[in-house]
Symmetry: C2
Subunit: 282 residues, 2 copies
């Protein structure tokens, strides 16, 4: 492996390059971002060595790390242009539509459908961190549809980055992510909104560090440019997760209204099981 | 100040004693917990020096750190029994009903209505931490109703603990807390429930550290014994906050359904303002 090209030099693309440069210093990184400021920052920060709109023919791996709603077109265009020995990996948060759209592409075997489960509430190349991907999960979908030799390059990269590989069907991926990731972001955004709206009548509602609010609302700082497209691309699953969430809240609300606090306590005890499951992750 | 008595030797009562012992080693700490195991643990951990059901007559300060629904009765009983020079402080998460119920008590001036804005998702004396209260907000309600000399003792304590004092009306306190604290807990619990319910059909939905889920659901690990009573005591305000939250979610859901992703992006940008407000806190 000698050359990697990254399209989309934000938090994920940037963190990927910073980490891999440490482990594989012999690789040259080229890259492109549609926002000239991001591209300039990526050069300054050493995320890429050269800015380049079209990847060169001898590029080994092309990474697509742009917002979810732009990947489909970009992927098709990229697969149209590459040679036989180039691997294309995308970092998009949704997988089902993407995999469907390139299912019949003559270069389908040059594509690996991926999703690194990592992020922060910040975005752009300046938010990139060398350790962002370390020991995080990297989900691969339809792995048997990627060429065996090209896949070896992907394994070398993700092993070097110390990532934990997981394999899923694209539809399973999108369903799971709607519940554990996309719903969390929406619940945070709406919590932020509820409190901001209330602040219009009430001053000094904040200054309450320690109230649990800060951690619950953290994701409401996330980038709308990244998240609105994810919701759009995963609309059906997100609606299902959101409807279930609203129904649970409504049910809990009705129990409060009816003074069923014994039942509420029982429900909360049940939900405390989340401790065991979250602690398992460590 | 020579003797402090703590009723309720859990996370807050325990953390209070551990921190104050460092700063004022001359004070003797007595205490009581209705759960014999907690009381035993508090002795072992050095939270209290002596276990004692009824505080001794020469006690300077009595701290009430029991669940929100037990404080009212305990406060009235304690005010009935104490002498002129004893100050009673409660650490309850709701203030309006409490202040109303003792408004006419002959020893009202011996009481200081307080609320330390601090906690973790863990509970009990073993979860107590010497630094839990450090640089956190301590809210005092109806401060002008507490005896001036007794109040000096409270100031000495909270200064020693390095806490930031804030003053509010009880009704204002309960309204604010419903939005920034109680609602966050409910939104986390219901997020946990939604994902746990979904897990019944889907395996390995977890192992997704980095997905934002862990921080958003953290408060769902909280103690039902503490939180069900808080919701109960602050029922009207919690219902208002919850209704507004559900309405926001429903509105967001309808926009997704109607493919209004441009509007969704705009809404999210508005909510991003929460960054500035949260960052101010630091």
């Amino acid at each position: 492996m000698k050359k990697i090209h990254i399209i989309g030099l934000g938090l994920l693309g940037g963190s990927f390059a910073l980490a891999l440069k440490k482990k594989m210093p012999e690789i040259e990184f080229t890259g492109f971002d549609i926002d000239p400021r991001n591209q300039e920052d990526a050069l300054t920060l050493g995320i890429i060595d050269r800015a380049l709109e079209i990847p060169e023919k001898d590029t080994d791996v092309i990474i697509l790390a742009t917002p979810a709603d732009t990947i489909s077109e970009l992927l098709k265009k990229t697969l149209d242009q590459i040679g036989k020995h180039t691997l294309v990996i995308d970092f998009g948060s949704t997988k089902e539509k993407l995999c469907q759209e390139v299912a019949q592409h003559p270069n389908r075997e040059n594509y690996l459908a991926g999703h690194p489960i990592a992020g922060t509430e910040y975005s752009g190349p300046k938010a990139a961190r060398e350790d962002l991907l370390d020991r995080k999960v990297f989900i691969i979908c339809e792995m048997d549809r990627t060429n065996l030799h090209l896949k070896e390059m992907a394994y070398a990269i993700f092993d070097a980055l110390n990532m934990k590989l997981r394999f899923m069907n694209p539809d399973e991926h999108d369903r799971h992510l709607a519940f554990v990731s996309h719903l969390s972001h929406i619940s945070s955004f709406m919590l932020g909104k509820t409190v901001l709206d209330k602040m219009q009548d009430e001053k000094n509602i904040f200054d309450m560090a320690g109230s649990g609010f800060a951690s619950t609302v953290r994701l409401a700082k996330s980038s709308p440019e990244m998240w609105a497209p994810i919701i759009q691309e995963n609309k059906a699953n997100v609606l299902e997760a959101l409807d279930r969430y609203i129904a649970s809240l409504q049910n809990f609300r009705d129990k409060i209204k009816a003074d069923q606090f014994k039942e509420i306590k029982g429900d909360m005890r049940e939900i405390n099981r989340i401790r065991d499951i979250l602690d398992l992750e460590k």
